[in-house]
């Protein structure tokens, strides 16, 4: 995979982003750019603000300070309608999948389609089946989320995130809680999406295999700041004490 930093307008640009919850500073002047077509994996210990960063990008929470640009548009300045227009271009997979538990799997995946496309019932149904087939969950179409395991929910969450053919994908631990085979399939899927659609993505993960497979670039967060940004190879060669410790403890990277 190659880095595509030649595009002048990054898909996502975070500038001096800060966010606190009470006394706890979760993000502290974070800067990060994601180029078009690029996949950046964000690593870091639990509770270092990785999920918060994704929610800030989606406009689900407001930063205390700093700016977020998606496709060159500053999201803080947008009205709700404009923000929603932008959100349709961004697929988001929540850490716990966040499926609507009063709706069936089919209705969950159809939720964005029903509201943002003019597909007829049979076309929409076909699209839902296609999306579920992509994540290997076709057989669960009539089930309720409560009847599914965590890994299955995650895959359906991913199908829902892909429903509107987003240009940008934000994935919060897509392979956590999955068996190694399914995890590998999900990684393959992310790679396919990059190749097919030049999708830009941020993948928050603890899974170093996932990093090896999908990442163009790796960013390591520590205490609300970026302590490392570069390729995986550069990361393994880094002399930064936290980076070295992180790699040593994860123990899977060559």
């Amino acid at each position: 995979m190659t880095m595509e930093n030649d595009n002048p307008k990054p898909a996502i640009r975070l500038q001096e982003l800060s966010k606190s919850f009470g006394e706890q500073k979760v993000l502290d002047r974070l800067d990060l750019n994601i180029a078009c077509g690029e996949t950046v994996t964000v690593l870091g210990r639990s509770g270092t603000g990785k999920s918060v960063m994704l929610k800030l990008i989606m406009g689900l929470q407001k930063p205390d300070d700093g700016e977020i640009e998606i496709n060159g548009e500053k999201i803080a300045a947008l009205s709700l309608d404009d923000l929603n227009r932008l959100r349709k271009k961004v697929g988001f997979l929540f850490q716990q999948a966040a499926l609507y538990d009063s709706l069936t799997v089919e209705e969950n995946v159809a939720f964005p389609l029903r509201r943002h496309t003019r597909l007829k019932d049979d076309e929409r149904q076909a699209r839902v089946r296609e999306l579920l087939a992509r994540v290997g969950m076709e057989e669960a179409i009539e089930k309720m989320p409560g009847d599914l395991s965590g890994g299955m929910k995650k895959r359906i969450g991913l199908a829902r995130a892909l429903a509107l053919d987003p240009q940008i994908l934000l994935l919060d631990e897509p392979t956590a809680g999955l068996d190694p085979i399914t995890a590998s399939e999900i990684n393959e899927l992310i790679c396919e999406l990059q190749d097919e659609r030049r999708m830009s993505s941020i993948v928050v993960t603890h899974d170093m295999r996932s990093v090896e497979k999908v990442a163009d670039r790796v960013a390591l967060l520590h205490e609300g700041r970026l302590v490392f940004e570069g390729t995986l190879r550069e990361m393994t060669e880094s002399q930064h004490p936290f980076v070295m410790k992180f790699i040593e403890e994860s123990g899977e990277v060559r």
Binding site: S18, K19, S20, K25, D28, R29, D31, K55, M58, G59, L60, Q61, K62, P63, D64, D65, L80, N84, R85, R87, K88, V90, F92, F94, Q95, Q96, A98, L99, Y100, D101, S102, F111, P112, R115, H116, R160, R225, L226, V227, F228, E229, G230, E234, M235, E237, S238, H240
Partner: protein, 286 residues
Amino acid sequence: MKQHAQVIGARPSAVSAGVRPATDSGNATRASPKRLLLGTLEWFGNLGDFCARLVKAAVTPPYEGRELLRQMDEVGAKSLPLVALAGAAIGAVLSMHMRDSMAQFGAKSMLPTLIILSLFKETGPIITALVVSGRVGAGIGAELGSMKVTEQIEAIEASAVNPYKFLVATRVIACMLMLPLLTIVADFCGIVTGWIANALAEPMSLRFFLNEGLAQANFADLLPSTFKTVVFGFIIGVIGCFQGMNAKGGTAGVGRASTSAVVLASLFVILADVVLVRLIITLFPQ
């Protein structure tokens, strides 16, 4: 390789405008009167903001027709047995109580009128509203509360759908539309059991009971009192949704949201009733 320099010195952080704090009754009871007052004012301020968003979401297209129908079924059809039973019980109780009192004044012939007017004007609407705030208020508070703590509400926002439109407006409108209809059911059941209780003590045909009772009652007795339940429906829906959407702190938070939704909805229904009764007496003098 690029290693970022550590930036020292934190900036003061502005309070995020988007976060709406929920009232924490546990803290409020321990706080000083000043903080209690400020907390209450803040709660009402947030409630006002919530209502403004709700109204905006409700009047602008697209409309969530399917979800509205589902909620009307949830609020209306599924509350029907409970409301009918409560109305029936209260009709019988009214009849039994009033019978002795009226006999003392030698005004037993007024009994049908009294039962029917009492049901139309006050007992039917308030019993319906309290039963619905118990059943529906708790349900909405718990459902939206658990959606909040499991990030489902954020998932709706991430799907570029306004949760005020999809979740709040549909539930509030369903409550406003269904309460008057449920009230009429409660009135009807109360009148029937009122007659039965009366007839058991002193044989009397239903036709006679209705003729006697309805001779003194007119639409000005029925309609304003029935339509005031639209306001009760608004209160039940808004308080349930507001408490639910502000739930935090896992399953315990869901429980708190559900309980506070019932308690506050019932309380505000009764308080609003005082104002509405005064208003109706002023606008529709006998």
